[in-house]
Every structure is written in C-alpha cells, then in structure tokens.
Symmetry: C2
Subunit: 225 residues, 2 copies
Amino acid sequence: MTELATPLSSTARTRLGRKRDRAATDRAALHAILDEALVCHLGLVVDGAPVVLPTGYGRAGDTLYLHGSTGAASLRAAGAGTEVCVTVTLLDGIVYSRSVNNHSMNYRSAVIYGTPRELTERAEKLHGLRVLTDHLAPGSWEHAREVNAKEFAAVTVLALDLSEASVKMRSGAPADPPEDVRGVEAWAGVLPVHTTFGVPEPAPELAAETPVPAHVSGRKPAPGR
Amino acid sequence: MTELATPLSSTARTRLGRKRDRAATDRAALHAILDEALVCHLGLVVDGAPVVLPTGYGRAGDTLYLHGSTGAASLRAAGAGTEVCVTVTLLDGIVYSRSVNNHSMNYRSAVIYGTPRELTERAEKLHGLRVLTDHLAPGSWEHAREVNAKEFAAVTVLALDLSEASVKMRSGAPADPPEDVRGVEAWAGVLPVHTTFGVPEPAPELAAETPVPAHVSGRKPAPGR
C-alpha cells in the first residue's frame, strides 16, 4: 500500500514554482482538476490546531473564489490575513495489485497554499459570486433570481491566488515488481471510479408539467472531458 | 448561496460530545460516512501553516487507521504527537433554488480531531493494515500476496480515536422562502450526484481468460446502503 502514501508528503508544496519546465503542463492540469471537482477541503489553523472543512469554490483564470456567511468564524479567520491550504481531490480508480502492499488509488489532486483576500469592491465581489455560481450550477446565474442587496451584504467572498499550487496524480495499471507479476496468482487491474449525475428531482411545489431546463438536464459531471 | 457556507464553521468541533441525546444517531451517521467514502483529507500544521493532504483510511469500531511510507514527512509529523483534523465528505446532490443565493449542495461530512498514535506492536499494526486494505479493496487481504517483512517495516500505521468527531449533512429539496416559491419562475430541485464503479480493467500482463474475481466484479460503491 506504499503508493497510497504518496500524497502524504509536504515536499510538493512549491512544485509548480521549482520545476519550471513542467509549469505549463502542471498549470493546465491544475485548472482541469479545479474545473472538474465540485468540493474543496479548506484547511486553516484555529487556536494552533488544524481545521479542515468542505466547501464549494469557483475558479476564473488563476484565482480561486471561496464564499460563506459573514457569520462563519472560520471564513472570517480565512479572510483576515490567515494562511490557508485548499485541497481538491478526484478519485479515478482503485488499483488492485498482486500484493496487498501495492494496492493503490488512481487520483488527481491539487493543493493550493496562500492567504485569501476578502473582496469588498462591489463589481469584484459580484464577479466572484458569479464564478462560484457558474461552477456549482452552470446556467443558474442567468436562470434564477439574482442576488439582492440583503443577500449580497450577508455573504463573504474570498479570492485566493493560484500562484503557490501543486498537482499530484496517479493513473494507469498496477505497478507490481517482476517477481510478483511472474510468481503471484492474483488478479490485478483497476476498478474505475466515476462521478455521475442522476435524474433531476423537481422541488415539490413545482407544477408537474414544468420542464427541466437544459442547463440541469444536460449537465455533464466532467466539463471538457 | 448561504447554505453552502454551513460547513465553514468551527462550532461543530465538539458536537458529538455536547449534544448527548443525538450522540447515538450521530455515531451511526459518522460510521456510515466513514464506511462509504474512500478518501479522507488529513489536515496538519506544518511550520505554523495548514497542510491538507488526501489519503486512504480505514475504520474499525471507533478507531480510524491511516498509513503511509515511513519516509513521508507529514505522516511522521502526524505520528509524533501532532494534532490532526481528518475530514471525509460525500457529495450527494446539487441543490438548484429559485434564487442564485439559495443554491446549495446535499452532502454528508465527518470531521475528526485528535492526536494519532503510531502503531508499533506487531499484531496491532497488522490489524491496522488489514482494516486499511478491507476498506480500500474488500477481499484483497485474502486474495493478494500478504505483506512481507520488508514491506511491513517500511510502512507507518497510525490510529486515531473517533472520540472527538462531528457530522454535518444537508439533504432534500431546496429551501426557498415563500415569496420566491410564489414569485420566482425558475426551476428548482436537486440534481443527484452518484459515485459508481466502471468495468474492471485487467493489468496488461494477465492472461486474457483470467476471470475477474467476485470481490472486484461485484463491488458496490456504497456498502450497506
């Protein structure tokens, strides 16, 4: 199971900065991971201890947007000059090897370090909310009621630069040593893991004949793939 | 989008401890979330800054097991009396509301705080490895080559008590205020998100007639559901 441990390393922290020749490839991979996943894990230090919380996000260019209620303590901390770590992980498969020890996962993950800034300028904050909505529910910004003044005031939007970020991934077949490939009679291979969308479930108050709009019914789990 | 911000709060930290009447329900929910998900996000404080890394895990009773190469710096830190936060999140659906602001996600998440201890006693460490394997790949412990002495020495196994843990979830239809239900002509409902397994992909060296064993071909994404 050693390979499973690969993500358990802090040495990738500045990978994008260090390996210049891989930077463009990594940058595209970083964007692809962020655009495909829906949930990130936001890490903060609160009273000296780590706190990891799941939340939504959105990306535009090399900026990641986060948001939350103005009453959320962790979000206030994140917006007040505190360093955060945002990690996004896509699980692609379970890797069955000839040995228990070489079992692994195929995955793609992005780790972003930085200090978010809170958006206070109206146009910039509205842009952030739009990016967040377009990521969570593409098409909803045009379809649903717009954000009113009270709602706009009650939400905090943070922007995090993607300058310090790293990407890790594993793909493909199990990596058994030759002696195991020859000498062990066990099945080996990959069980793919997929994320899919089910049949839309209309809210109970909707009239029965209300059509499901195309931005919901036609949504695909992995944009651009 | 206010509801999306619900997880962005540190107030749930001791929920299981505080609300005694909900403890049994929450304990069952905690176990169910941990048993269904495959990846956790491990949070640590390294040089004063948060680090969040994806990794595998396993659960037996009220103990969570983590593992990694003995060379992994973060894992060494986690095993050396450092407090960690382990978060597991299952995304169940995208909630489309009448207003952009009320869009949300249906999800189940578990947050565990504690200081893991490294397992050094042979039987206990082997048990931990088995729990980890049974979670990642049920049936592989019996099917694949067992862990040899060299591999056993090269892996670090950590045990984390589930005593300080909290569960958060959202399910069901959008929660639009009456004035939006009456006055906004937008589709509202939930787009379910599912995790599924694809067709097993045998390793290239396997003979073409090698059958896929039942523990792989019959595997279901959500045990017990």
